[in-house]
Amino acid sequence: MTKKQKKRLRRIILGGSLFLAVTLLKALVPLPSLLVLLLYLIPYFICGNDVLLKAFRGVKNAQMLDENFLMSIATIGALFLGEYPEAVFVMLFYQTGELFQDISVGKSRKSIAALAKIRADEAFIQKDGELVSISPEDVTVGTEIVIRPGDRVPLDAVVTHGTTSLDTSALTGEAMPRDVFEGDEIISGCINLSGTVKAKVTKPCSESTVSRILRLTEESSTNKAKYESIVTRFARYYTPLVVLFALFIGVVFPLLYCLITWNFDSAFFASMFSRALIFLVVSCPCALVISVPLSFFAGIGDSSRKGILIKGAAFIEQLSLCRAFVFDKTGTLTKGVFKVKEIHTQGITADELSELAALSESYSTHPIAKSLREHYVKQPDLSRLGKVTELAGKGVSAVIDGHTVYTGNAKLMEMSGITVPEINCGGTAVHVAKENAYLGYIIISDEVKPDSQEAVNTLKRMTGAKTVMLTGDNSESAKAIAQQLGIDEYRAELYPEDKVRVLEDIIGKTNGKVCFVGDGINDSPAITRADVGVAMGALGSDAAIEASDVVLMHDSVSKLPEAVKISKNTVRTVKQNIVFAIGVKALVLILGALGYANMWLASFADVGVSVIAIINAVRRKK
């Protein structure tokens, strides 16, 4: 608790005990009415002095609809009507509510601020054999910094010396430490766990990962959700309206009534006035105004702890409304690394075929060639290799042991007059032939990330939304992966610019919001175009962080269902709070107008609802 909060707590305890003491005393000993008033005034002023003072200043500034002013009028009115305990209680309870609100808002503010702690205050450089601490802002790009175990990485850099493991949990929510070696990139905000490393700074402080993330969270409050604006608009009319009603019930109506009936009954006046005061007590829309942004804030806090950055309440709201999830394939659902999956041979062994393929592709830089060489593992004997001719878009022909070996796709085989079997399986087929004898084929495909399938299933189960996969790959491999993952639709053989067009098509056909998930490297246009653009594992990519609405810090798509779940829970809480707060207030207003409510109930409707709404907003949702 802060000093201010402690002070308030002391006042509440002191005021509360005096209030009880006076009430008890009055019940035991008959006291003259004036003395009772004086005794009650002590806790009244202890609890309400600041409210009264603020009310006074509010009047001076012509802020008549200020909650302090209305609260003061209500309690002073109650004192006039002889409702002493009520007046004290309203103040006491109001203060309790304020304290509670202060503490819980402070708490969730801290949970976001915890993220701000990922900023390191100092960087170390070596100067004349000694470590010197300087502010990260003063470090220029290219400077070599020293990061000791226990230090936070102050700036984005590349390791030049040493190895270590990094705790990336503050950024990614991933508990597993990451090992880094010379030449590896390290990002600011991670904690160095084991060894001292030297690293060369690659970006100035203002563009480091940490700075970008912090800017993002700071700006998140400006992207307001629809609910927030509805609530603030409601609040703008609610207070004046309730106060007008209060004036009508407390003053205008009784006056008119008396003038018409010509019957001046002071008890009637008092009763109507008392009803008006109840209106004033519930006239503050604070429960609503605070609980809605607080719910979103808590949602953003919850997700940031899991390595999901959401750029504002608006996107929590939209994420909860998504009816279609569109994924980029390579790098998002799959690892983006090609691997040999199957080998089919005719007349030779799989190992021999693999050797021939690896040998032929010895000089190629194509990812498929790389995967063939990796699969063979052994170092092929290059002395056997003669002339190699690369045929773009087809493959290679290489002379091995004096024979021409063709390695490539069906087009290459056709060109060489070799017939190939019909292949119906996902992936890319690499055929191998020696002179004019067909030897077999190797199926190469991109590997699916281990958590992709579960992520897709969970999303479908949770939202009932459609899932679509976009890829530049051929139809066969797209189909295989879509089937394997249970994705509803796929669009293959797309160029990067086609993706936006296809996405727009999906947006047009979907009755609801559309979310696009990409790895952020070449998907920025689609990420920008989607209602909710999600960039994955985008810590290194500036463009993606700028373009996206949600950033999954860790390179796994399984964070997406978590984000959707948080968004759904948050929106549900917001709805609950709106219905609850407006419902209770409306009920008390109706009861109050009819004379069935009293100050105690009104006080509950004001403060109690606030407290319950706040608890609902900040509680951890399962």
């Binding site: 603020k54 200043r57 509010g58 500034n61 802020q63 200020d66 909650e67 304020e98 202060d102 808002v105 969730s108 503010r109 976001i112 700071e218 700006e219 409050s221 400006t222 307001k224 603030t232 609040a235 703008r236 207070t239 503050c284 829309p285 604070c286 105004v289 605070i290 942004p293 607080l294 804030f297």
Partner: protein
Amino acid sequence: MKKTFEIEDLCCANCAAKMENEIAKLEGVKSVNVAFLTQKLVLEADDDKFDEILAQAAKICKKIEPDCEVIIK
């Protein structure tokens, strides 16, 4: 120009909404956001009159909630 300022002791959510509403009415203000939760004022206004507008905005905040203070660095 768009700048962010801290607001100290902003302690009423409804007041923040009121401030935002009032500041938005100032001439030359392009966008404004008073965030109760982060205690921040994000003001976007014409460059040449920015300081003047900011001073007016701070005055509005003060009027609505006398205890709060916009930190102008």
